[in-house]
Amino acid sequence: MEVPSRWYNIIPDLPLPLPPPVDPPDRDSSSIELLNQILPVEVIRQQFSADRWIDIPDEIKELYKNFGRPTPLLRARRLEEKINTKSKIFFKYEGALPTGSHKLNAAIPQAYYAKKDGIESVITETGAGQWGAAVSLAARTVGIKSTVFMVRSSYDQKQQRRYLMEMYGARVIPSPSTTTAFGRSVHGSGSGSLGIAMSEAIEYALKTGAKYLVGSVLEVVLMYQSIIGLEVIGQLNEIGEEPDVLIGCVGGGSNFAGFTYPFIGSNAKGRFIAVGPAEVPKFSSGKYRYDFPDTAEILPLIKMITLGADFEPPPIYSGGLRYHGVAPTLSMLIQQEKVSSREYGEKISAEAAKMFAETQGIVPALESSHAVAAAIDEAKAADMRGTSSVIVFNMSGHGLLELDNYMKIYGDR
């Protein structure tokens, strides 16, 4: 299995036209114009491209290879035995990438295209640190600087993640900070939020001329992640398996889309299940409408399933699943019932994660543990029906830098 040489863009294969991003109606300025200023040129071009296939530049392919792509597709035999199922359970292991999650797939091309623009530094924000770590490493490898605004509560608690970014050479600033006007305006108001960190990052990018890198939700980010599903198609082919069910967790939707879109776009048989957290019930309570992708209301409105940009997520440990919306293409596919969705609470997911660690040895990221829970349920449901399914889920990341969270959930034994 080789690293694929093209990304897949689902836009021309959707069941309906994708509603475009729009400017907020009551403003004189254009938020779409803002994207022009902060994103690398090629990233915007690809965001609005209608090409089904986009060539991956050789340099990016080399970096993908260097960091361990293709990632393994593994069979979870011990888990199958443990739950005594007749189904086969496979998982794609994105935790095998050096920063521990799929995020690196999207950070590398964006850093690469920023450098192509002649830019010397990139900026982003991060919650628990998965995205920030990916950006730090990507920037380092293409030879540019990176600055990461990290939500202050995580900055204080997640010392190892913060240090990982610094080890890669990033400058990590706790947010709210005194570095930006927005940060100063809310400074002292406590532990910060992803929305505040994002506003600071965008303001700082505008001020310094650095490019801003996006971690999820934008179609182009989903496209960069398609490398996951394209590899899985090849890997399943090699072992002669055809999936009946594909499962992934959803924060903004990038790992789920990257994993499933190459299947959905080619009209592959099988069901697709998007799993969210019960504590952030966007699938069951969200509305499909135009909304801000960011709490700070800086970016253009996008049409998506959303709980509202002002939704305040409860403090669950799956930081990556706290997002209030779902990427526009994925929202549409759910609306059109091409993708089904369900929600699991953190307790159930953590139980599944524990079972996975006990059987397969891998500690899933808390985000990914939601997909594990769904895979186990699907296997059990197939047994109840008296059938056997081929179940494939995406393990978007490992949880080794989140053991403190597991410790809080289970207690320090």
């Binding site: 836009i11 021309p12 294969d13 959707l14 069941p15 309906l16 036209p17 994708l18 509603p19 475009p20 991003p21 729009v22 400017d23 109606p25 004189d28 300025s29 254009s30 779409i32 114009e33 994207l35 022009n36 040129v41 090629e42 915007i44 071009r45 609005f48 491209s49 209608a50 090409d51 049409k303």
Partner: protein, 233 residues
């Protein structure tokens, strides 16, 4: 075959008198005028056109439209629109276009195009790069005037796009006339649209800016030069 030129302006912009003089002068250079009627929500418009909607609010659109002597295409958005009243108001034009028809009101495609025809008007079908191949194919059959490909997500906001590529993709799907616009920013992009296989181009924001800042004679001159350029391709 010579490429066509379509010019966009908002009805009554920047004021009824200037608008009228501009239209009279520009008509002889264009194949059609696309005239925007302010919608409830200017979904896909950039700052210039959004401002123009505010500027013309309260104007007698019907009266202005009935004085336009060249081929006119009325344009507005369907969200919150009283379709019957709208068609009544624009019945002196030749055709109508709703940029959000396929995108947010796909289920009304037949109903809306039928209502348009009943008023003896023709349909321009608007598509954007995010419209999937299958729908471009099925929906373009409803275009008895032409298919309009909007190249950018918002008018007048020059996001980097590959114009030739985007047009080529649609060209192989659409059999009838294809006009490309929505944010073409300069002559180079006009040439790229034609190279991609467009039968014509539509220009809005750049001419409106001239009209707003330097008056109708310079705007008419800008249209004349555009015509000359398009003819030279």
């Amino acid at each position: 075959m010579m490429a066509e030129l379509v010019i966009y302006n908002t009805v009554g912009f920047p004021d009824p008198e200037t608008f009228f003089k501009f239209v009279q002068g520009a008509c002889s250079y264009v194949d059609a005028l696309e005239l925007g009627i302010p919608p409830k929500f200017a979904k896909y418009d950039g700052p210039t056109i959004r401002r123009s909607y505010v500027a013309v609010a309260g104007t007698d659109y019907m009266n202005l439209l009935s004085n336009v002597k060249c081929r006119a295409i009325a344009l507005t958005y369907l969200d919150g629109l009283d379709l019957e009243k709208f068609l009544e108001m624009v019945r002196c034009t030749k055709a109508v276009m709703f940029p959000d028809l396929l995108i947010d009101h796909m289920n009304r495609l037949e109903e809306v195009t039928e209502a348009v025809k009943k008023m003896s008007l023709k349909n321009v079908i608007f598509i954007s790069p995010s419209v999937p191949d299958t729908i471009i194919k099925s929906a373009s059959r409803f275009a008895d005037e032409f298919v309009y490909l909007g190249i950018r997500p918002a008018t007048g906001v020059p996001t980097p796009v590959n114009v030739t590529k985007l047009v080529k993709r649609v060209r192989v799907i659409v059999d009838g006339k294809l006009i490309v616009g929505f944010g073409l920013k300069d002559n180079e992009e006009i040439a790229q649209a034609i190279e991609g296989g467009a039968d014509g181009v539509a220009v809005g924001t750049s001419v409106m800016k001239v009209l707003e800042e330097r008056g109708e004679s310079e705007a008419i001159e800008a249209v004349r030069r555009l015509k000359e350029y398009v003819d030279s391709l």
